[in-house]
Subunit: 232 residues, 2 copies
DNA sequence: GTTATTCCAATATTCGAAAATTTGGGTAAT
DNA sequence: ATTACCCAAATTTTCGAATATTGGAATAAC
């Protein structure tokens, strides 16, 4: 099983633990978030082994982790399915995420150093490169956007000293990503609004204004969720 | 591979999805929580397959889930290790658990029905059977106690309607369990105190007194954590 | 004596064949 | 027409052999 060269794709803020099995986990998660597999879809091994070119065992291992993360459900004997989505769940996830993210931002602002600041600026720049693109082009690179958007919000709270606070907010963020895909079909105008919101969040964070940063993030997330519910 | 009859062991409040693979996950988690494997211990497949009498693949699948749950770490190529512990982490986990549990209890008290109440009483009784035992005997059945203690606290918040609130509080509870084992070496007197605390929590919950239940739980958890830190 | 290299044993990782389970449909009995 | 039962196909679950990787000891080079 030769590794194709494109595996070497850059992963800026990722842990960097390359491995055949970890790759399929990552790809699977991205495919679910990007709704390549719709909610409730049965994930059959026969199809999957061909799509990802790995053995049944390896696939099973990746799927098992996604069960813990809440992306996939497992009924013994019936196999794996993509977890369902609902407006109700979106609302709850949003609630928890905002609560955790606000604490994480405050913590990060208190503890962040110069490297943290520099990374935010760098990652925001990468995000803005896609967000300032014409709508059609931006849509083509949607999966890139998903990754960079995640990186941006993560960079903001990267200096958070609470390991579990960070972990819990990341779980919730990944879940929100599942719902965010809906806004992919949103009208064109939204793009610019989000672009501006991200910039404001960055500025407030770098200015160490925790109150403002908290407030902006809360608005930013609530706004996205409201829009998503209407399109759900 | 014939299923031994004792597999039919009763699992009161569990999901009830019996399966060879799920069993080993459950057993493995219990063993880690019960510190059968000390933190930082390497989890070698050669030993494990004999201990749990399952294949490598099945074991790997269970370990993968435990990585997501935070009990185990995985360094690619180097294998699985039991996650480390620290007083710092214990404090943070306690903080998050109390915050989540308080919300979950209040929610459960608002939404619980008669079945919920009946289950609490039943599960508490099972717990009390062990907790009222002489100290020496109780220690012998420590792993039973771990399970029943978990079931008790879970039954209290079982009626919580927030699926993710319940899930997040469960993640934190399981993590706390890892640290609770330390109190296994605590002086004898503690047992009776905890016994009484559990009873009070049950009574307050059944009386639908959310404020009191919240307060009792907070004390109960903080007390356990304080004791654990001293013994760490 | 120290550093670098090679090799080997121990271990982790991956895979697909075999066993066990579920699903769907066809047949017979009511 | 409806239910119960059984069989066959499809699918999941489990396992251990085959492969790849790591760590360290023995040897060689400096």
């Amino acid at each position: 099983m030769k590794k194709s060269p494109e595996t070497q794709k850059l992963k800026p803020s990722s842990t960097g633990d390359s491995s055949a099995g970890q790759d399929v986990l990552s790809r699977l998660r991205t495919d679910i978030v990007s709704t390549v597999f719709e909610p409730e879809t049965r994930l059959k091994f026969a199809d999957m082994t061909k799509r990802y070119d790995v053995g049944i065992g390896t696939l099973r291992e990746a799927l098992s982790q996604l069960v813990s993360e809440g992306f996939v459900t497992l009924e013994t004997g019936k196999g794996f399915k993509v977890a369902p989505v609902s407006a109700e769940e979106l609302i709850e996830i949003t609630e928890h995420f905002i609560s955790l993210e606000k604490r994480a931002v405050r913590n990060a602002i208190e503890n962040g150093d110069e490297d943290w600041e520099a990374n935010i600026v760098a990652v925001h720049h990468r995000l803005s490169l896609i967000e300032s693109l014409p709508w059609a082009e931006r849509m083509e690179r949607h999966s890139d956007w998903v990754q960079r958007h995640r990186d941006f919000h993560e960079s903001i709270v990267a200096a958070c000293t609470g390991r579990w606070l960070f972990k819990l907010r990341s779980i919730m963020f990944d879940q929100l990503d599942r719902y965010r895909f809906v806004t992919k079909r949103a009208p064109q105008g939204i793009g610019e609004t989000k672009f501006e919101e991200h910039r404001k969040i960055m500025v407030a964070t770098l200015a160490r204004d925790a109150d403002l940063a908290e407030q902006l993030i809360e608005q930013h997330i609530n706004d996205t969720t409201d829009r998503a519910i209407k399109l759900l």
